[in-house]
């Protein structure tokens, strides 16, 4: 279905966009950068981090670029003093919410939160730290979930549900007590759905989800490839599913009370998706080389 071409202004520049695109997609298509944290190309957008807020001429309201469909004639401003302030505040709030101690983090130097803070010029935070006591889930044989570093972007939730089809992750509780949980709040190691594909690790913008066996600064993630894969998967899966009258991104249509049909039987989904990903061996090798380069003789890692 060819989309209609519409014309919009982004930061004063008259550009064309496709109807159905979000503001973010339209901006990206024209090389305009809007900062994002919870957005990951290929996954559904949720508008959780509020870092991508933009101004729309003619209204006082700010709009999240990742979820707002662009409309003909819109004039969008992607940067202003107010937007910078609010983006900084959002990142500041994330920094104080949990225990983001970069110097002790596997993702130090490769962390989206950290680089976002740097690019926004955040040198300190003005709010007191919450310093919550949060657990670290080490029960999975290969991966680790450190709640201290989680920013609740839910990329892991979405990549697992929308790409892997395993639905391991969900958000439990609410408000400040929200936590990422696997299965029914089981230990990750006990999560029956988990295929061990590692997509959540790669999708995670911080060191909250990491592979075991890495030390400070060693965890380099490949969110680009997850992105590519996600976009591809969505496309392919939709093509495949259309035959069944289903679509991955939209919720299944059904009557109230009926059971939600799963897009795939569990075993099938994991096989299909994991086969396509093939992330582990090459990436892991790359990371190890990277680690040696970075840490040199000073690190003595327990084998």
């Amino acid at each position: 279905m060819p989309n209609k071409t519409i014309s919009v202004r982004i930061d004063g520049e008259l550009v064309t966009a496709q109807e159905g695109q979000t503001i973010l997609e339209a901006a990206h298509a024209h090389g305009k950068q809007i900062p994002t944290l919870c957005y990951l190309k290929g996954l559904s957008a949720v508008g959780a981090c509020r870092v991508c807020m933009v101004e729309l001429a003619g209204t006082d309201r700010l709009l999240p670029a990742c979820t707002t469909p662009i409309q003909d004639g819109m004039s969008i401003k992607t940067a202003s003093e107010k937007l910078t302030l609010y983006r900084r505040m959002a990142v500041e709030l994330l920094l104080v919410e949990r225990n983001h101690i970069c110097s002790a983090c596997v993702s130090n130097g490769h962390c989206e939160l950290q680089s976002m803070a740097q690019s926004l010029g955040i040198t300190h935070v003005r709010y007191s730290y919450n310093n919550p006591h949060l657990p670290v889930d080490m029960t999975h044989p290969r991966f680790v979930l450190d709640h201290n570093r989680c920013i609740l972007c839910t990329r892991c939730v979405r990549v697992c549900a929308e790409v892997e089809g395993a639905n391991v992750w969900e958000v439990a509780s609410r408000g400040i007590y929200s936590r990422i949980v696997s299965d029914l709040k089981d230990d990750w190691g006990q999560a029956r759905n988990c295929t061990g594909c590692g997509k959540c690790i790669q999708a995670c913008p911080t060191g909250a989800l990491a592979e075991k066996g890495f030390s400070v600064m060693e965890m380099v993630k490949q969110s680009d490839s997850v992105s590519r894969l996600a976009a591809q998967r969505t496309h392919q899966a939709n093509g495949a599913l259309e035959r069944f009258g289903m679509c991955l991104q939209a919720r299944p249509e059904q009557a109230p009370g009926a059971a939600v049909p799963r897009p795939f039987p569990r075993s099938q989904s994991s096989r299909m998706c994991s086969g396509l990903v093939g992330l582990h061996p090459p990436d892991r090798g790359l990371s190890r080389r990277h680690r040696r380069k970075l840490s040199g003789p000073l690190t003595s890692r327990p084998s």
Binding site: A48, R50, M89, L94, R126, Y127, N130, S178
Partner: protein
């Protein structure tokens, strides 16, 4: 069961319903809403039932919903055939027999009668109950109902909500019938559009447009949803609407379903509303039985089902996308819009969501037409809105008012103002998402735009009234705590931002707030408002933002002075009495010390908190009395009289000298700094006392020949004997304060001279100038301003008053003048333009004046003073006033009438307020404020000129003794801090002044009922003949008993909250 298929069966049901409302036998209806049940309606119902059975009378007993006046529950309405409906209030189970008896005698128990209803417009129908009961006021003559227009609540409290026939009897389901017969769906939507009905859930979106979206959406199945997830603290409109009239909601939804092409309706109601759920279920069941719901409704081939879903009580599920997520079985977290539910809602299908009240408005609009609907309310917001009026107000309940009614009508007309003796401070509209509107803005019309303009929202209709006892910081904190715990956690601003805001507010209410906090809070509030994903976050900061905007001073008090004026923030107060005392006296401590038999320690505790304990013990307006927690048990502890007793016990005995030695010993080492104090009134004396104790060299300059200011020259001898004041002055001089008399600062001694010879100058010169009333005849001989008159009396000067004296005013100066004149043997009449309860004078003083024979004429404004040929006063003419609307002081404004009265008199005293004469200050470079007071920093007491400080009446305007002293006390502390710099040892110099007392911290046992000991007064007929002190004070035994009555609120149980 009659399934309604045609107009014939419909009318038959209607007749049968009407017959139940207007039976040929007496009908008794008990208000059985949740509010009624909470007040004992169920027991009452059973008692009535039993009595009816026992008596064998033929009476129809039934239950109805709430009629709105929740403060009068349980309500009972009684109708005898042919008579009006009589509403009884506060009926209890033991009144049942009485009521039944009255049915036969036809005389209703007068103490229970509230109002009568002769006829009622049910909007969809009209009911005439009958005429009669000439002595009983009609319902709409009762202030609470006057001005209300019941459209949504048209049936509430009148029909049995569990009986569909009664609903049909008053014209219910007729609108549905009409719509189905007509079959023109678009025209109904056009009607709703033309009525400009706006969503009553709070956002105010045009309902007609919303309906149009869904009607035009193309899908195989569409849903309509009723949002009854009412979760605001203090709001219960939807609950009572459903409990009182569930069919009104169903009818609106069925009409909506038909015209929008939906076949499924869902009511999402809180599980916390069990009665509403029960009545709704019953209503749905009945509607099905009668063929008004289900398949082939009214035989028109239209199928529509309504399903009831109970929400688990998450506030965020009131947000429509979260509500849909919850219905689908997911966690109640909102989604970004667009897509809007009208495109993609429940199960991905087009969905329309409206609030209960919006649905309840549909049937009236359909049956009476949009033009009728738009007659009510304002142009942009037509119709009415139901509000739950709660909080610190006389009349609470459900109020349905036309939109655009000014807020003050709600507070003062419907609510009849604050609870006795209090003043309304603010109104919170819209629950936790709304804002606090200050008293000054009560003229604001209540509609969507006007409320949004001042930072609040209409919300679903909560209206919480607050008075001086509410701390606005705590209010903001409470609401943020609520939204914080209800935030779903999806987006960062709401999840973390509210958490940070709550932590900052907690810090402020605990006294650890900092100056940056206010800025941070404000910025955070704006960010959360603008960046949050859904309505919860977007409105959650409103309480903070509005309180910062309108009550910034309270925030500053908490942060800078660690003071919570309302006494709500526990960490900032020792006990309620301590917090209420302008001098922050540690009252429980001296009560305990005296109880332990330690008179000297008790006195020391008192004098260090309050350097004039004997004088304040006599003339203080004792705010502590209003705060004592004992008042909820028996009577308040007489704290003022105890410290008067302690002071008298020391001053009138040989304990004085040793005591003076003890206090001298507490003085800090001499600092070598010199401080001048201008004025020796309560403010100046207090400042001088503390400055001297802090080791400074203090000199007081006094214009008159004696110290004491108003205490010496305005308060009469019979209230405050000058010998008592002398002792207090002895003590202050005893600790080294020097006094320079007959020196008027600014005149005899220019400010510049003071500046050169002192390190700091404190101005506390009081309000000695009498405000003049511009009135014909004030130039006559025999017209005296009150203060100079009182001063002459205090100086024992002869003033020719004649035998009849009129006094204009209602303050303490008026009462003091009146009682002084009385002691000169004349007759006195006080003329006051408002009512007695509005008089600013201390109540005991007014009482005492009345006892002594002072005449009062209220609602009397002076018109002119008439003189004789000799130039002497002959008479005064007054204009009678009537009380009009409430003004900004929270009292009713006196409005002159045509009635003029004349009082013969020989002299007139004007006691209409005091003012100042501070021009010399301006000349010396001190800034004055518009109202003529000296401009100072609120916390440091510094004037615009370095080294000059001011306190007391010169900065606040005329006040009272303890407030004035409080100014002196705080200023002394600040002057010392400025002179000495920050303490290096970390132990503040100020704190060093106050020794620790060891005393029992054992909580008293269970209290037993006991009377408050009041001071003994000399009988009125004896005391008017002399200048002797009127009130004799407590004796030692009584004082001890008063001490024992203290509940020791200063003790806190150590509870580990972690």
């Amino acid at each position: 069961m009659p399934r309604i298929l045609d107009i014939g069966t419909f009318n038959a049901v209607r007749e049968s319903g009407l017959a139940k409302l207007l039976p040929a036998i007496p009908r008794i209806a008990v208000g059985m809403g949740t509010c009624g049940r909470g007040n004992g309606a169920e027991e009452l119902y059973h008692a009535l039932n039993e009595s009816i059975q026992r008596s064998g009378m033929d009476v129809l007993l039934t239950g109805v919903g709430c009629f709105g006046s929740c403060f009068q529950e349980p309500l009972v309405s009684i109708r005898l055939p042919g008579h009006p409906l009589l509403v009884l209030r506060h009926v209890q189970a033991n009144d049942a027999a009485r009521i039944l008896e009255s049915l036969s005698t036809q005389t209703m128990p007068a103490d229970l009668v509230y109002c009568k209803i002769e006829e009622w417009d049910h909007i969809t129908g009209y009911v005439r109950y009958g005429q009669g009961y000439p002595d009983v006021p009609p319902w709409n003559a009762i202030p609470f109902f006057k001005g209300q227009k019941k459209i949504v609540l048209r049936n509430c409290g009148l029909i049995n909500p569990s009986d569909i026939e009664e609903y049909i009897g008053v014209g219910g389901y007729q609108a549905l019938y009409k719509v189905l017969i007509d079959g023109r769906k678009e025209s109904v939507i056009e009607q709703i559009k033309a009525s400009r009905l706006r969503g009553r859930g709070g956002a105010g979106f045009l309902t007609g447009n919303k309906w149009d979206f869904l009607a035009k959406a193309k899908a195989d199945i569409k849903y309509i949803i009723c949002n009854a997830d009412e979760g605001d603290p203090g709001a219960y409109m939807n609950r009572n609407e459903i409990e009182g009239d569930p069919h009104s909601l169903l009818e609106g939804m069925i009409i909506g379903g038909y015209v929008m092409g939906a076949t499924e309706g869902i009511i999402y109601v809180r599980a916390e509303y069990p009665l509403a759920v029960r009545r709704l279920n019953r209503a749905i069941e009945q509607a099905r039985e009668y063929g008004l719901l289900g398949t082939n409704i009214l035989d028109r081939g239209f199928n529509f089902n309504i399903q009831l879903v109970q929400g688990a009580g998450a506030f965020v599920c009131g947000e429509e996308t979260a509500l849909i997520a919850s219905l689908e079985g997911f966690a109640g977290r909102p989604h970004p819009r667009p897509p809007f539910p009208a495109e993609k809602g429940l199960w991905g299908k087009p969905t329309n969501i409206n609030n209960v009240e919006t649905w309840c408005n549909i049937a009236p609009i359909v049956s009476r037409g949009p033009a009728w609907f738009a007659e009510t309310g304002s142009v942009k917001s037509p119709g009415t809105k139901v509000f739950s009026l709660v909080g610190k107000i006389q009349n609470t309940g459900l109020v349905e008012m036309p939109l655009g009614t000014p807020l003050k009508s709600f507070i003062y007309d419907i609510g009849e103002g604050a609870i006795a003796g209090r003043r309304v401070k603010a109104v919170q509209t819209g629950g936790p998402s709304g804002g606090c509107i200050p008293l000054e803005m009560l003229d604001t019309p209540v509609d969507y735009e006007s409320l949004a303009q001042i930072g609040s929202i209409m919300g679903s209709g909560g209206m919480v009234v607050m008075d001086e006892d509410n701390c606005m910081v705590d209010v903001a904190r409470y609401f943020i705590e609520f939204t914080h715990s209800e935030s779903c956690g999806k987006c960062v601003p709401c999840r973390v931002g509210l958490n940070k805001a709550l932590r900052i507010l907690n810090a402020i209410t605990e006294g650890s707030g900092s100056a940056e906090h206010l800025g941070l809070l404000d910025e955070l509030g704006r960010m959360i408002r603008e960046c949050s994903l859904c309505g919860l976050g977007q409105t959650a900061p409103n309480p903070v933002l509005t309180t910062i905007r309108h009550f910034r001073e309270e925030y500053e008090d908490h942060i800078v002075a660690h003071r919570c004026r309302a006494g709500v923030c526990q960490e900032l107060a020792l006990s309620p009495c301590e917090n209420s005392c302008p001098l922050r006296m540690n009252i429980p401590r001296f009560l305990e010390l005296y109880q332990e038999g330690r008179l000297e320690d008790a006195f020391e505790s008192v004098i260090l908190d309050n350097p004039l304990p004997a004088s304040t013990g006599r003339v203080c307006q004792h705010p502590c009395d209003n705060r004592c927690r004992r008042q909820s048990f028996d009577e308040v502890v007489n704290m003022r009289e105890v410290h008067r007793f302690l002071a008298d016990a020391i001053y009138q005995s040989d304990l004085f000298e040793p005591m003076l030695e003890r206090i001298r010993a507490l003085k800090l080492a001499s600092t070598g700094r010199k401080v001048a104090v201008a004025g020796s009134g309560p403010t100046g004396l207090t400042a001088a006392f503390y400055l001297a104790m802090l080791g400074h060299d203090v000199t007081i300059y006094e214009e008159r020949g004696e110290a004491g200011g108003m205490l010496r020259f305005a308060i009469p001898e019979y209230r405050l004997p000058k010998s008592v004041l002398r002792r207090e002055l002895d003590l202050i001089e005893g600790i080294g304060v020097k006094m320079q008399f007959n020196t008027r600062v600014g005149f005899d001694l220019p400010l510049n001279d003071l500046a050169s010879s002192f390190d700091a100058v404190f101005l506390s010169i009081g309000t000695w100038k009498e405000s003049w009333l511009y009135l014909p005849g004030t130039e006559l001989k025999g017209v005296y301003p009150a203060l100079p008159f009182l001063e002459s009396v205090a100086r024992h000067e002869k003033v020719a008053m004649g035998s009849r004296v009129a006094i204009i005013g209602g303050g303490n100066a008026a009462i003091d003048s009146a009682r002084s004149v009385l002691r000169m043997g004349a007759n006195v009449t006080i003329l006051y333009r408002r009512e007695r309860k509005d008089m600013p004078a201390i109540d005991e003083e007014i009482q005492a004046a009345e006892d002594e024979g002072v005449r009062f004429v209220f609602l009397a404004a002076p018109h002119r003073i008439l003189g004789g040929a000799d130039g002497n006063v002959k008479a005064i003419e007054i204009v009678k006033t009537r009380l009009g609307e409430y003004d900004k002081s929270g009292r009713k404004r006196p409005i002159p009438t045509d009635e003029v009265q004349r009082f013969e008199c020989d002299s007139v005293i004007l006691a209409v307020g005091e003012t100042f004469d501070l021009d010399f200050c301006r000349a010396s470079g001190l800034e004055l404020k518009e109202e003529g007071t000296i401009a100072v920093d609120r916390f440091s007491f510094e004037t615009s000129r370095a080294g000059f400080y001011a306190g007391g009446d010169v900065i606040t305007g005329a006040s009272n003794m303890s407030n004035a002293m409080s100014g002196g006390k705080q200023a002394a502390r600040k002057i010392d801090e400025r002179l000495m710099g920050p303490s290096l040892s970390g132990d503040a110099r100020w704190d060093q002044l106050f020794p620790e007392f060891e005393y029992s911290r054992q909580a008293p046992g269970e209290p037993s009922l006991s009377r408050r000991h009041t001071a003994h007064s000399v009988p009125a007929e004896v005391r008017v003949r002399s200048q002797e002190e009127v009130v004799a004070g407590l004796d030692p035994e009584e004082a001890l008993e008063e001490c024992r009555r203290c509940l020791r609120c200063d003790l806190r149980a150590a509870v580990n909250t972690h």
